[in-house]
């Protein structure tokens, strides 16, 4: 592989890894506070992409459409918690998990009924379809924008988690819900905040995905969601930094495996899960995870 190809793939990997990282954070934060693998999270990403699609189809400017997409995801994500998960706070964790899978099927089929299963072309505005050439490196503008926006968003999330009282409450909640209530804090409001934050990030990931590939369908969240979940476990479920690291590792691996072994291209999706199995075998707590019972942000 020459330098040009290497740079090209590095940038592609960073772009793909960004999407995984954005979605993985939602998995890891919800797991951190509720000990729930929210299997509907991948579909929340799809919801964000569809809301954005509908808004652009209605003729709204792209920026506004993106904001509506994020808002749509946040509303659906928070409602999922309020309607499906909240009544089960005291129930066994397995009930919660099965409910999450049910919500996932529900969202996929709901959107299938409304929009049909045929992939829809996602039309991004012209300024997002530009392509630059840097020597022989081929740079669609999205590939540059996605990692930059992602890093900015991630810095914002870390700032919220470590510098604001709400972030501290999220971290405290991951450790001890009853004691958080003794601080006069409405724990359910903090959990709502976690779902809102995670869903917003998933929506951004979904919109990036829609712009990059450029098509969307009601099942788009399934594989991407599963891979983001693998990234969260790889990085250490419950750790936000871990989710980001896991997301980028997965993004780079997927791109480089295809670049180095083009004949294995058809198996690229399998690599995420191959990695997941390896990690679970040798380091069940993931890269940044310290203790499964006491996950930390």
């Amino acid at each position: 592989m020459d330098l040009t190809t290497f740079l090209q793939q590095l940038i592609n990997g960073a772009s793909l890894g960004s999407m995984y990282a954005l979605i993985a954070i939602g998995y890891t934060m919800v797991y951190g506070v509720l000990r729930l693998i929210n299997f509907a999270h991948g579909d929340i990403m799809m919801v964000g992409a569809f809301f954005t699609f509908m808004a652009t189809a209605a003729g709204l400017p792209f920026t506004l459409a993106v904001l509506l997409g994020i808002l749509g995801s946040v509303i659906v994500g928070v409602l999922t918690d309020k309607i499906a998960y909240k009544p089960l706070r005291e129930a066994p964790k397995i009930s919660l998990l099965i409910t999450a899978i049910g919500i996932s099927f529900f969202l996929e089929n709901l959107f299938n009924v409304i929009f049909g299963g045929v992939p829809k072309a996602f039309s991004a505005p012209d300024y997002l379809t530009k392509i630059f050439h840097l020597g022989d490196v081929y740079l669609p503008i999205t590939v540059i924008i996605i990692p930059i926006v992602t890093v900015a968003i991630l810095s914002g999330v870390l700032w919220v988690l470590y510098r604001t009282k709400y972030g501290m409450a999220i971290r405290a909640l991951a450790f001890d819900i009853p004691t958080v209530k003794l601080m006069g804090i409405d724990a359910d409001r903090i959990i709502t905040l976690v779902f809102a934050l995670g869903s917003a990030l998933a929506a951004v990931g979904g919109i990036f995905y829609a712009v990059s590939y450029p098509s969307i369908d009601p099942l788009m969240g399934v594989i991407v969601g599963l891979k983001a979940f693998a990234a969260a476990v790889l990085g250490g479920i419950g750790s936000v930094t871990g989710a980001v690291i896991g997301g980028f590792i997965l993004g780079f691996t997927e791109i480089f495996v295809v670049a180095l072994f083009p004949e294995l291209g058809g198996y690229k999706d399998a690599f995420a899960f191959f990695f997941l199995i390896l990690v679970l075998l040798f380091r069940p707590t993931g890269i940044m995870g310290e203790d499964l019972e006491r996950s930390r942000f």
Binding site: A172, K181, L182, M183, I185, D186, R294
Partner: protein, 230 residues
Amino acid sequence: MLELKDLTVHYGVIAAVRGIDMKIEPNTIVTLIGSNGAGKTSTLNAIVNSVKKKGTVIFDGKDISKEPTHQIVQDGLALVPEGRRVFINLSVDENLRMGAFNNDENFERLRAEMYRLFPRLDGKKQQLAGTLSGGEQQMLAIARALMSEPKMLMLDEPSLGLAPKIVGEVFEIITELKKSITILLIEQNAFAALKIADYGYVLENGSIALEGESENLLGNDEVRKKYLGG
């Protein structure tokens, strides 16, 4: 300040607290003593509604029996839970911030006050609470509860597992607090508790077996035999 009427707590078919009545006057220290399993912690958890209960709890003239835990704390009734329960993954400073979650405007002032009241914590502001000693964690747990400027503070076994010297320090601070707030103190260390309290209740198998002025309980033969080691 706080009144319990016919408070009952059941865990399944087992009754932990069997219809107790208590009354706590403002600016006093009241202690609830009793052996392990007598129902002391269940009583406190029932007051703040973190376990299911029957009966009435009146705090500061308001019926709080049905209020959610966080609302009760916002009303001015704070609890330092058994086993301290500091947030071990947060720093000392962040623990104090959590205590003042609904008290933003007074946070800075109260924090300075807490470091003065608990000089042992002063040099460890940025340290994770999990790395503190047991005594320091207990002091942090009390300081954290005080950050909400409660009208009344309930302490669940603050001396548990601490060295005698530290227990002395903690009890001195509790006595100091009495000047400004009402305190309900739960202790297995009945002697130390009765010495600083104004009034005491003795809990046995979920019922109040005895109550009275602390001096009277200290002089009571039955209490001496059962709880004060002779």
